[in-house]
Amino acid sequence: MNGGYTGKILNVDLTSRKTSIIETAKYEDWGGGHGIGSAVFWDLCKDKTVSGFDPGNVVTIMTSPLSGTNAPAVAGRTEVQGIGVQGYPIEWFTRSNFGGRFSGMLKFAGWDGIAIQGKADKPVWIDMRNDDVQIRDAGDLWGLDTLETQEEIWRRVTGELNDWWSTGRGRDNGRTTQRPAVLTIGPAGERMTRVAALLHDAGNGAGQGGFGGVFGSKNLKAISVIGTGGVKVADPSALMAAREWSNKYAIAGNWDNYQPAPFGMGFHSAPGSAAAAYAPTPPIPIGPMGCMACQHNCRVRFGGGQTNGSSCLDFLFYMWDARKHGGKPTQVLQDAVDLVQRAGINTFEMEGTIIWLANLYGMGLIGRGKKIESSLPFDQIGETIFAKQLFDAIVEGKDIGKDLAQGSARAAEAWGRYDEDTASGVLPLQAWGYPQHYDARTEVEWGYGSLLGERDINEHDFNIWVYWVPTVATLSGAQPPMSAEELSELMAKKLVPYSDPMMMDYSDEGIYSESMAKLVAWHRHYTRFYKQSLAYCDWSWADFYNTYGPDHVGMTGEGEQKFFNAVTGKNITFEEGLETGRKIWNLDRAIWVLQGRHKDMEFFTEQNYQVGAVPGFTTFEAPYVVPVHENGTWSYKNVAGRKLDKGKVEEWKVKYYKLEGWDPESGCPTRETLEKLGLANVADELAAAKKLPA
């Protein structure tokens, strides 16, 4: 018996207010999540060059076959795709995702995903109760913040469900004690800003891409789903055995041998440990929380009731609070996070924006009577009042918020500062208008992945081991758990089919090598399938090094397909999953080519080529200790100060294109490559658009 899929995807046309069913079987070969989302988008979006705000844009919200099961660190994640509005200068087809329980509830209601097209003539929300789907008026929800909206929908749905309970049907025929899972926008989305997020429950956000603004453009306030079914599992015994096996790699199987995992990240980390870093001073009670079926529940609930479930950039964007208050987070941070989540604003975008504004203020360029006129209290950055006034300005389109609502890249263009500020790094953008996350000059797999794609990749698979661990160990004078040579050997075993230890060489030569092209290709294929299609969480997977694993070797290469096969009844190998990832990556690339992507536009912002963060005091210098192979020897080395050689990056791009079977002149997949992947129809559409290389 095949399992994992419910067999149907909800297709919603908001213009006509009609719904229909797409059969999942047609798309099963794409795995789930992102793969199915890209394929459905390809089929449904007739003109892929329209703006993300155009009614013709198609947004897909997809589950994984593992959603709603007890497979660890995967069951609660949902993938969102469509033409985003954050990308710059082109609104690329893009992706985001979020955790929680939305995907599981979709499965329980009998759906593998949702495709949304068109535009409602007035605000609506979608009410899904098992097979019953209604498009309801949202006039009285419009204007509510993200938490208020969810609470109101819970009241409406559960109130009616109480009636439903009274029908006397049995537990397995329509009863549930669960609240609906709601995905909503806040005021920032209603105003169609490019910095608006989708929010679900507390702290689960799909921020990048600006899908909140896309929802707003469709007059779609929220989607609510509640289901009373389950997920068919092909081999329940195998799934249970896999879960028990994975417990040996998790704290659940090692209570007597607890060891902190680096930064609370990784499959082996402890409940609540990641978000505990943001607990305020003076302390308030905290407790761990997590997504459906997660083995480590990395997030927390705070006793004060604010910021629940928030994580990472949700807090970090306003660590200015800590700077003002002795180095530790305070109640100010709780307030700021609560405000940004309620407004439904992308915190990652806010982080880069606030750094930029602080720099402009320091340079005397922004404020009352300054070149960029603004009445925001810049001297109060780090206090609640600044955060509130900034978010209000963006939501209400007043003061500089009118421009910042378009994202920092477009605001910089409007203020005539884009070239100067991205070249100097005063505005810290890396590529495609997205704020820098990890440094392309030093941790190149992150930068290259983002450049060849359409957004900051936000995939930490290598980041912990090639950057954090060696950097912190070096700075603190400790020995890292693995030497650089041991790291290269471990990765050579894990990174099939390439199995090339030189993929870990981040030296000045290594970053432009064929081996680095292999590393980036492996990463693109792995994440497209395993993390974005099967929805394995970035905070747990890939599991290369595991504190509790035999010889500290993690599950990657064995674990990912083990759960997938148990649930679906398929029998794929790890490498076959990577090949599906390659196919998805090529389909995405083809969509970008249709949108205008070409080799000649794939450049980082100028700071990556011009500013090397050389030791000194007027450049941003961060220690960046990475593995290098120099003079025949592996070591960890601080490469801060490095800038990228534009000519060598261009040569490296050609190496990468050739490895992928893409045209070295344009960067477009060739017909031969697409046909080998079973994408002849994609090649035909590219040819019809005169975009296919000769």
Binding site: P260, A261, P262, F263, G264, M265, S273, A274, A275, A276, A277, A279, S311, C312, L313, L316, M319, R323, G327, K328, P329, I355, A358, N359, G362, M363, G364, P428, H437, Y438, D439, H460, T471, V472, A473, T474, L475, S476, G477, A478, P615, G616, F617, T618, T619, F620, E621, A622, P623, Y624
Partner: protein, 148 residues
């Protein structure tokens, strides 16, 4: 080590305690779990020295400890002190400490102590200067009106 440095002239002491223009600021970085390095702008010597911090590897790796790395490149700091503030003696002392430290963690405490000690010297110099000024003021002739 600060005791080896001769007390600064009042003019230098004032400069060392001043806030420098944005263009002359020192850039540090806060290494945050999950986020990467975040630029931190430092415009006074006190801010720079106070910002420098680290902890044991195990503490930094455990988010519950809320341990931070506040990073300022010690040689960058020395260059800043020399170029912007004009205190060659302090700059050389910072370089000497940095050269003798096996890691950043080993350098943080001594460098911070050195810089903060220097700032304390500055305050003493200026306080003494202020006292002198007061004495000079009290010895000065009374105003014409009162004298009359």
């Amino acid at each position: 080590m600060v005791h080896d440095l001769p007390a600064p002239e009042a003019e230098l002491a004032e400069r060392l305690l001043a806030t420098v223009p944005f263009e002359q600021q020192l850039m540090g970085s806060r290494l945050n779990p999950m986020r990467g390095s975040v630029r931190v702008d430092l415009r006074t010597l006190n801010e720079a020295a106070s910002f420098m911090e680290t902890a044991a590897y195990e503490e930094i790796m455990d988010p519950r400890a809320q341990a931070n790395i506040g990073y300022v490149d010690p040689l960058g700091l020395a260059l800043w002190i020399e170029t912007v503030f004009g205190d060659t003696g302090l700059a050389d002392a910072v370089r000497e400490v940095a050269a003798g430290a096996a890691s950043y963690a080993a350098a943080v405490g001594p460098v911070r102590e050195l810089v903060l000690g220097r700032l304390e010297q500055c305050e003493q110099v200026l306080a003494a200067e202020g006292a002198t000024d007061e004495r000079v003021a009290s010895d000065a002739p009374q105003s014409d009106g009162e004298a009359g």
